[in-house]
């Protein structure tokens, strides 16, 4: 068993009792599933789920900074089992990290039941007891979610209720504690949220071109007192707020082809390890304006975050125990070099804009050719806040002026995709990027990168298809192992080539190489083979992997260099 319970906080009785009864609950669940299985004819219901197994072997390679893996083989495994019978469902998840793959937190080491719940999902009422995931609005005051590839799971363990009294009105209420590795954080999270869709409520609006959804949420965190010294006088301890509240107001409006989304959130005094125990309230604003029609769309987004890191345990740093989620406003690039320097949200303060245009040039026109051409433009800029520090722990921390702080990130990219013939498709991308290492808490000056990608797929015949990818990156950064400001292995100029061969719809084989040809270091060849049948997929790879950041949604995890075999098996049933 890998569950440790901290029973000292007796007044959180409901939640704690639930947690103490974890074993009992889990067994009850199994019993329910077994009963259902045996009595298929009587009870009905069905079981669905998925299983994933990832393995890794790695040996030392000084040229890329890969370390030896003493265990020889690292394994991550998980299985989600969900039993559903009408409106009732029950689920559990088994996880194993023996030992965790490179880049996963060592505190995951172990195995056991990581998640379980029972739920009722009726037409008007939904109730979940146990582990659950939830989001209020865009998640800026509350988002319990998981990302298995980031090794991130901040699911709440408690009770979640959703009630829809009439069509167009959704009310939510929840309370629980957050998962951190194999335990739950001490902080108690409570929240309520209401959302109203005016079109469903008022017939005249529903029949008009006007659309409006309004929402508001409130989240409160409770945590015991602890001794934190004040900056001005280390002999004095801070008078910490035990309850920290955060509220959000949001609107999603539309008229014809236009839509406007806005969300404003505000958080009370929340001194924490993340913000250096300052008492400045937090706030964040997210705005989005979109115009879209068939074949054309344009959108503009703006975001401003000021001291909005919100965790259920104030002493936590790192990526765990976040109550809220602050999305990155930059485009989620997928090509290797475009995502080599990914942007990660700066929860303590940032402001940025993103513009995005998609246009389909019609077929039969000069630029459209026989099949039409897709053009996609995107640009984003993120700057720091214009702050003046006024004090340390125990003070307001800083003042903010209306101007711009330092440049954190900027990029502009243009992508053109075109079907050249019946069987050949090509996509070319060019991007210019500015990256400030401070985003990753690293020293150094701004990097300026030029990136070009060509991606061609060729359907050779009914059974075989090939895909070629060539990438280039020119950067003004350089690598020097002995200089802490320049020992980033991503530095320098790079080329990459990739060939992927798809055989039928079941097999693929690929080979690729990334090589720093100037001012950099490292050569990263790798091969992979994959087999897919239905909802089962097996992939085996061998090669070198660059150390770097794996980022999903603006949240990142550092992945160390590796050199060797990897495999991954997933299946859904």
């Amino acid at each position: 068993m890998h569950f440790k319970f901290e029973n000292k906080i007796l007044y959180h009785s409901v939640i704690d009792n639930l947690m103490k009864r974890k074993k009992v609950l889990a067994l009850t669940l199994f019993a329910a599933m077994a009963a259902a299985a045996q009595g298929q004819g009587l009870l009905g219901g069905h079981v669905t789920g998925n299983v994933q197994l990832d393995g890794q072997m790695s040996s030392a390679d000084s040229t890329i900074g890969a370390q030896d893996v003493p265990e020889k083989l690292l394994l991550n495994a998980r299985a989600d089992i969900l039993y559903t019978n009408g409106d009732f469902s029950a689920g559990l998840r088994f996880e194993m990290y023996q030992n965790p793959l490179l880049g996963f937190d060592a505190r995951y080491k172990g195995q056991g039941l990581a998640n379980y719940f029972v739920a009722y999902n009726g037409e008007r009422l939904s109730v979940t007891a146990g582990n659950f995931y939830e989001q209020f609005g865009s998640g800026m005051i509350l988002r319990a979610y998981e990302d298995r590839y980031l090794g991130l799971d901040n699911s709440l363990f408690g009770l979640n209720v959703q009630y829809r009294p009439v069509d167009g009105v959704t009310l939510k209420a929840l309370a629980g504690k957050q998962r951190i590795f194999w335990e739950y954080g001490d902080g108690l999270v409570r929240g309520v949220d209401a959302e109203v869709n005016l079109g469903s409520l008022v017939k005249a609006i529903g029949e008009s071109k006007f659309r409006a959804t309004l929402g508001a949420g409130f989240v409160s965190k409770y945590e015991d007192d602890e001794a934190v010294p004040a900056a001005a006088n280390p002999e004095m301890r801070l008078n910490l707020p035990l309850n920290v509240g955060a509220a959000s107001f949001r609107a999603d409006l539309g008229y014809g082809n236009w839509s406007l989304q806005a969300e404003y959130v505000r958080k009370g005094q929340d001194p924490s390890a993340m913000n250096g125990y300052i008492y400045r309230p937090g706030e964040a604003l997210l705005l989005g304006l979109t115009y879209s029609q068939r074949g054309f769309s344009a959108s503009l987004q703006a975001k401003r975050i000021d001291n909005m890191g919100f965790k259920s345990v104030r002493s936590q740093s790192g990526e765990m125990l976040y109550i809220n989620y602050l999305p990155a406003i930059t485009k989620n690039h997928t090509y290797a070099f475009l995502s080599m320097y990914p942007y990660a949200t700066q929860v303590n303060g940032e402001q940025g804009v993103q513009a995005d245009v998609m246009y389909k040039i019609k077929k039969g026109t000069l630029l459209g050719g026989k099949y039409g051409t897709d053009v996609h433009l995107n640009s984003s800029v993120v700057m720091g806040l214009d702050t003046t520090v006024t004090g340390g722990a125990g003070t307001e921390g800083y003042d903010v002026a209306g101007g711009l702080g330092q440049t954190l990130y900027g990029d502009v990219s243009v992508e053109v995709a075109k079907k050249l013939s019946k069987n050949v498709k090509a996509t070319v991308t060019y991007a210019y990027q500015v990256f400030n290492p401070v985003v990753e808490n690293e020293p150094g000056s701004l990097h300026h990168n030029n990136i070009a990608v060509a991606d061609v797929s060729w359907k050779v015949n009914k059974k075989h298809s090939l895909r070629f990818e060539a990438e280039w990156m020119g950067s003004d950064s350089h690598y020097d192992a002995n200089d802490p400001e320049h020992n980033d292995r991503r530095a320098g100029d790079w080329v990459m080539g990739l060939v992927e061969w798809n055989i039928g719809t079941h097999w693929f084989i690929s080979a690729s190489d990334q090589y720093a040809y100037n001012d950099g270091t490292g050569n990263y060849p790798s091969v992979a083979v994959g087999y897919t049948r239905g909802a089962t997929r097996l992939q085996v790879g061998y090669g070198k992997q660059r150390e770097g950041l794996l980022c999903i949604g603006g949240v990142c995890r550092t992945v160390p260099a590796s050199n060797g075999l990897t495999f991954s098996l997933t299946t859904s049933f």
């Binding site: 089992i81 969900l82 998640g139 959804t213 769309s297 959108s299 897709d374």
Partner: protein
């Protein structure tokens, strides 16, 4: 160890039960691209088959699949009456881009947002793209993960089998 054995037992039971098909979850909350909240029971096609495709704006194979299907979708509809429902798993970072993305690509599909991944979890999806073939009774008859060029042929073949 006991737990692992139990789990294996549970898995086996799962397979035994799969003899009867799992059905599409009914009361999972989704959002339309116009921001309206709906329950997953809206995914239906008047007794004819439905293909559900889980996708994301940032997922290249998902976009290849949905764009390739677009070219044959009219023929598919004439032949089988199938309807395609594209469920986006984009989170707050890119959710605002789902509508412009779908319309910019001129997709003729019904598109929903599953921002909290509720339907994704309920249907056991691990990675996108992940497609399901649902028969007229709402039963899941086939599912597939990943996309390789030509994969749409296998997909429609499973829809055709429903009509036999």
């Amino acid at each position: 160890m006991k737990k692992i054995l139990l789990l294996i037992a549970a898995l086996c039971m799962g397979n035994a039960i799969m003899a009867q098909n799992a059905t599409l979850p009914q009361n999972i909350t989704l959002r339309t691209i116009d921001g309206q909240t709906v329950q997953s029971s809206v995914i239906q096609n008047g007794g004819r088959p439905v293909i559900i495709s889980f996708w994301a704006t940032w997922c290249k194979p998902c976009n290849r699949e949905l764009n390739n299907i677009k070219e044959v979708y009219e023929e598919w509809q004439e032949e089988t009456g199938v309807k395609i429902v594209a469920v986006s798993i984009d989170d707050a970072r890119s959710a605002a881009r789902v509508k412009p993305h779908a319309e910019g690509n001129d997709w003729p599909y019904e598109v929903y947002l599953d921002q909290n991944s509720d339907l994704k979890r309920a249907m056991g999806v691990v990675n996108v793209p992940h497609t399901f073939v649902i028969n007229g009774e709402g039963e899941i008859v086939w599912q597939h993960t990943g996309y390789q060029d030509g994969g749409e042929e296998e997909l429609i073949e499973h829809v055709r089998q429903l009509l036999k």
